[in-house]
């Protein structure tokens, strides 16, 4: 038995073990923590499978931001109903177990079916790699997301915007979350923010820029930006505000506008977007999406319609 197979088996066991802990967790908080760990393990698995784009997205979105959102929701939940913090939730667990078993069965069926299939010469994945050199892009994932399946990406951005609007409707508007850190004047915290926020912005821009040729892109870059936003919110540099500024609203819809133009404009000329608009247009659309993703996720974490500067 070689070492690679051992690592794969170990990762698989860790993944299933963590998933069982998430589903059967007696306390909600434990389940959330295990879910974050599950996201990180999942990122390792994607990296091991060579899907670095997915690994980045899963580490930033699946583990980082989803975890932060769930913790924020948990904090809100125990504020509304303190009994939830210690509740055993066995009724929920029974339902979760049923859903988990069904989902696992579905994944196993799909996986076994996919493994039984032979690679077809005309399959979409093969076609992508054949057509990729003509686009000038080096990253097939970016090619699929923006050049060939742009409509899917447009719908994804609309889903993100709709999810935010839905969360706004559900959220109690009068409820303003307090920052978790009681005192913002800790020297260490200021150092952390001063070091991490510029670095996160740099990493986001790098991921955006490199996304055409290597793993990266608007979704990964946007989630890194949102992580910086969450840090600013947690340390009180940004505060939730009852109203949103015009700039913020612009930021929220920028992504839909960017990818929408990229997808719809070429229909006027009848030529594929890359042949007509070039790589600059892709980068512009991706930048707009990055800003939107960052704004949306930060606002979701804030649980408020807008943001204001907390330093003044």
């Amino acid at each position: 038995m070689n070492v690679g197979l051992l690592i794969d088996l170990l990762l698989g066991l860790i993944l299933v073990g963590l998933a069982v802990q998430v589903v059967l967790g007696r306390q909600l908080f434990r389940s959330i923590v295990f879910y974050v760990a599950f996201g990180l393990a999942m990122a390792l698995v994607w990296a091991r499978l060579g899907a670095v784009d997915l690994a980045l997205a899963d580490a930033a979105l699946g583990a980082g931001l989803t975890g932060a959102l769930m913790l924020a929701a948990f904090r809100r939940l125990i504020k509304l109903d303190p009994a939830q913090a210690v509740t055993s939730g066995s009724a929920h667990t029974a339902l979760a177990l049923l859903i988990a078993v069904l989902a696992a069965g579905m994944v196993a069926t799909i996986g076994l079916t996919a493994m039984a299939l032979e690679s077809q010469p005309g399959a979409a994945g093969v076609a992508v790699f054949e057509a990729l050199p003509a686009t000038g892009l080096g990253n097939p994932v970016t090619g699929v997301l923006l050049a060939w399946r742009g409509f899917d990406t447009l719908v994804e951005m609309v889903v993100l915007l709709t999810a935010f609007l839905g969360a706004r409707v559900v959220a109690d508007e009068g409820w303003a979350p307090r920052s978790t850190v009681a005192s913002f004047d800790l020297p260490l915290l200021r150092t952390l923010v001063a070091a991490i926020v510029p670095l996160a912005s740099l990493i986001a821009l790098y991921l955006l820029w490199i996304g055409s040729d290597q793993p990266g892109g608007a979704f990964q870059a946007g989630s890194v930006l949102a992580a910086a936003g969450v840090l600013l919110l947690l340390t009180g540099q940004l505060l939730p505000a009852p109203t949103s500024s015009a700039w913020l609203r612009l930021g929220l819809v920028l992504g839909v506008a960017g990818i929408g133009l990229l997808v719809l404009l070429p229909m006027l000329s009848g030529r594929p977007p890359l042949a007509w608009l070039g790589r600059g247009a892709l980068l512009l659309a991706e930048s707009m999406m990055m800003v939107s993703i960052g704004c949306t996720l930060t606002l979701m974490f804030a649980g408020a319609p807008g943001l204001k500067d907390g330093t003044r």
Partner: protein
């Protein structure tokens, strides 16, 4: 020779991370656990980063690994500090 150095660094890194994990599982209270976890893990991560840098041998990789270690150091320092403050606030 290079492989031997890398192997030694990797093994010692794994030892420190293992020790930190044992400390987190076995020690009695939050403060002891934080102490074991952050100290041992930072050293373990440094040793593993050094092993990877030795194996790769390029300056760019070495600097990137150093940056990763510094970021992990910063994150673990601040989070350990915040957890310790919170724990002290709860115990008083």
């Amino acid at each position: 020779m290079v492989d031997l150095i890398a192997l030694l660094l990797l093994l010692s890194g794994c030892f420190f991370i293992f020790a930190g994990t044992v400390g987190m599982l076995r020690l009695p209270d939050v403060f002891c656990r934080l102490h074991a976890m952050t100290k041992a893990d930072n050293l373990g991560l440094l040793l593993i980063c050094m092993a990877l840098a030795v194996m790769d041998g390029r300056l760019r990789t070495t600097l990137l690994l150093l940056l990763i270690w510094l970021l992990a150091l910063l994150a673990s320092t601040v989070s350990a500090h915040l957890i310790a403050r919170h724990a002290r606030g709860q115990s008083q």
